[in-house]
C-alpha cells in the first residue's frame, strides 16, 4: 500500500505534514531536518527539490531554494542524502519538485531513484492532468509511484472526481488561489470551499496546504480535511531559529 495512504488508515485526523527544502539552511541539513521532524512526531514529510524557477512557490520557498542551490545541492546529492536515512527513517517522505527537473534527469532514472530511496509519492505542481493521462500515469504506475494532484477553489466538480479516481495517496487541497507563503486567517469563503469539498465525500484523503502557518490555522483546516501541510512558516522558522529547535515549532502547531 502507498506509504501516505497507510498513514491515513492508522490516523484519520489531524495528520501533520511539513514541507522543507532539501539542502537548506545548509547543504548537509537534509538528513538532520528529516530526523528532527520524525522525532517531533510529524506524520509525513515533503522534501522540496530546489529549483531555479519555482513558479508555484512564494518568496520564502523561492529564497530557500536559491540558498540551497547556492549551497551546491542537486538531485544526485538529494538522492544520496535520502539513501543514507532510508533504513533509519520511518516517516514517509514525499518529493516535491518541478517537472523539468525530472525531464532533464531522465524520467526513468528519476523514478528509479525515487523508488530506491523508499519513496512512493511525488508532487509536481506543474504536471497538468492531460500530460499525466497521456504519458506520466503509465510511467509512474510502472514504478509504483503515486502522483499527488492539487485542487483549488476553481477546480470543477467533474475534475475533482477525476482527480479523486487517480489519487492513491492524498489530494492536495490548495487553501486559496494563491502561491505558497500567503499568511493569515482562514476566511469564511475558504471555509465554504472546504465544506463544499468535504461534502463531496471523496474516497481520497484531503490534505489542506497553502497559508497554514500555526496551531489555529492547522486546527481549523483539520476540521474539514484529514490533515494539513505547513511549508513557508516552517522555512521561516528554520531561518530564524535554526534546525535545533524544530521540536518547538512542531509542538506549537500540535498544541496551543
Amino acid at each position: 500500500m502507498n506509504s501516505i495512504k497507510n498513514i491515513f488508515q492508522t490516523k484519520n485526523r489531524e495528520v501533520l505534514s511539513i514541507y522543507f527544502t532539501a539542502g537548506f539552511p545548509n547543504l548537509e541539513d537534509t538528513k538532520t531536518v528529516i530526523e528532527e521532524l520524525e522525532k517531533a512526531g510529524v506524520d509525513f514529510i515533503e522534501v522540496g527539490l530546489p529549483y531555479s524557477d519555482p513558479l508555484a512557490d512564494g518568496p520564502t520557498i523561492q529564497n530557500s531554494s536559491q540558498k540551497a542551490l547556492q549551497n551546491g545541492i542537486n538531485l544526485d546529492i538529494v538522492f544520496e542524502q535520502l539513501m543514507t536515512i532510508k533504513n533509519s527513517n520511518k516517516t514517509p517522505l514525499v518529493l516535491m519538485g518541478y517537472l523539468n527537473q525530472m525531464l532533464k534527469y531522465g524520467e526513468d532514472k528519476f523514478c528509479q531513484k525515487v523508488v530506491d530511496c523508499g519513496i512512493d509519492t511525488v508532487i509536481l505542481p506543474d504536471l497538468p492532468m492531460v500530460e499525466y493521462e497521456n504519458h506520466y500515469r503509465h510511467l509512474f504506475e510502472k514504478y509504483g509511484i503515486n502522483n499527488v494532484f492539487l485542487i483549488t477553489p476553481q477546480t470543477t466538480e467533474d475534475r475533482i472526481r477525476k482527480i479523486d479516481s487517480y489519487s492513491k495517496s492524498f489530494i492536495y487541497m490548495v487553501a486559496s488561489s494563491s502561491i505558497t507563503g500567503a499568511k493569515g486567517e482562514i476566511s469564511q469563503q475558504q471555509i465554504d470551499y472546504f465544506q463544499r469539498i468535504k461534502s463531496m465525500n471523496l474516497k481520497g484523503n484531503l490534505v489542506i496546504g497553502f497559508g497554514i502557518s500555526d496551531h489555529k490555522t492547522f486546527s481549523k483546516a483539520c476540521e474539514y480535511a484529514n490533515g494539513a501541510i505547513i511549508g513557508s512558516a516552517f522555512i521561516n522558522f528554520l531561518e530564524e531559529k535554526g534546525i535545533d529547535k524544530i521540536y518547538e515549532f512542531i509542538s506549537s502547531i500540535r498544541n496551543n
Binding site: L55, M129, N134, T152, S177, S178, A182
Partner: protein, 405 residues
Amino acid sequence: MLLAMTAKNKKMKGKFQPDKNGYFGQFGGAFIPELLYPNVKELEDNYIQIIESEEFQKEYKSLLKDFVGRPSPLYFAKRLSEKYGAQIYLKREDLNHTGAHKINNTIGQILIAQKLGKTKIIAETGAGQHGVATATVCALMGLECTVFMGEKDIVRQAPNVARMKMLGAKVVPATSGSKTLKDATNEAIRYWIQHPETFYLIGSVVGPHPHPDMVARLQAVISEEMKWQLKEKTGNENPDTIIACVGGGSNAAGAFYHYMDDEEVELIAVEAAGLGVNSGESAATSQLGQVGIIHGSKTILMQDEYGQIVEPYSISAGLDYPGVGPLHAFLFESGRAKFMNATDKEALDAAFELTKIEGIIPALETAHALAVLPKMTLRKDQVIVINLSGRGDKDLETFIKHLEE
C-alpha cells in the same frame, strides 16, 4: 484588402499549426499548476472563436489602421542593398505607434480580454516595448495595468519605464534570479496565480498553450501585409529570404507566419549570442539549450544537467531570454528555419551602419537581425525581407556609450 486577406488566411491549416493540446511537434503544451487551469482553459475555449469573429476582426483591423498606423511600410533599402549585393526590404514595424511590433499583439489581446469580461491586465516586459504597448492599450480602453519588469531591465530601458508610468501603468520590479525577462515572466505568472481574475497579456509566443498560438495569430498581420506589399513591389508575394530576431520570438513568428508552409521561402531566425555563443554569456538558446519546460511550455531551454535554468545574457533586454517559443523550437528542430546568431558587438555595428546609410535607428533587438547580413552569401537578385521589429529610441543611452568608446 486587409480584411479580405484575413478571411483567406485564417482557415490555414498546416504543419506548423499546433495540435489540439497545443503541440508543435514535440514542443508546446500547457505545463501549468492546477491553480491556473481555469484561466488557461477559458482562453483556450474562446480565443479562436473570438479572433475569427467578424466583430473582433473589424475592431482589430480598425485599431491597427487608425491607432497603430498600419499597414507598416515595406521599404526598399537601396543603399543597404547596394552594400550587401541583394534586394533588401525592411518591414517597418518600427514605425508602429509605440515603436515596435509589440502593439499588434496587445491590441488583439486587449480586445480578447474585453470579450472575456476582464478588467485587470498584467504583463511582463524585457526591453519595455511590450510593457509600453500594454500600458498603451490599457490607457486606450481604461483598464488597470500592472507590468512586471526585471530590476536590471528597469535600469537599462529607463525611457520605457517612464513611458509606462506616464501611461498609468504600475511597474513592479522583478528582483529574483537574473532580474531580467525570465524573472519578470515568473513574477507575472505568480501574480496571475494569486489573482486569477486578471488577464495575463503575454508579450511573446511563449507560455502555456494557447498563448503561443494566440500571439502568433495576432502578429501574423506582419507577413499578411508583406505578401501583398511584395506582390506590388516585386510582382511576387514570396521573397527568397526573411530574417527576424528571436528572443521569445513574436516578431519572427509574425514575419514567418504566412510563409511557413512555403518551403521555397528561406526563414532565418537570429538569436543573441551576447559575448559569443560559447562565452558563457549568451542567449543563443537553439545553440545552447536542450528540451525542457519553461513558463508552462515545453521547448528548447538553456539549462544545466539538473534542469536548473541557466541565466542568459545579451546586451539587448528583449532577447535576453533562456528559452524560445515552442513554434520556433519546432522550426529549428525540423530545419524549416535556419538559426543564426549575432554578438553584442555585431549588433551594435549593424545598428550604427543602418543609422548611417539608411537614416533609421533600429532597436538593439532588431539590430541582431541586420547583423547577419555580412555573414551570408547573397545573390544580387535575392529578395530579402528583414523584419525591422522596433526603433532604437529606447537604446540611445547604450548607443551613445558605445559611440564614445
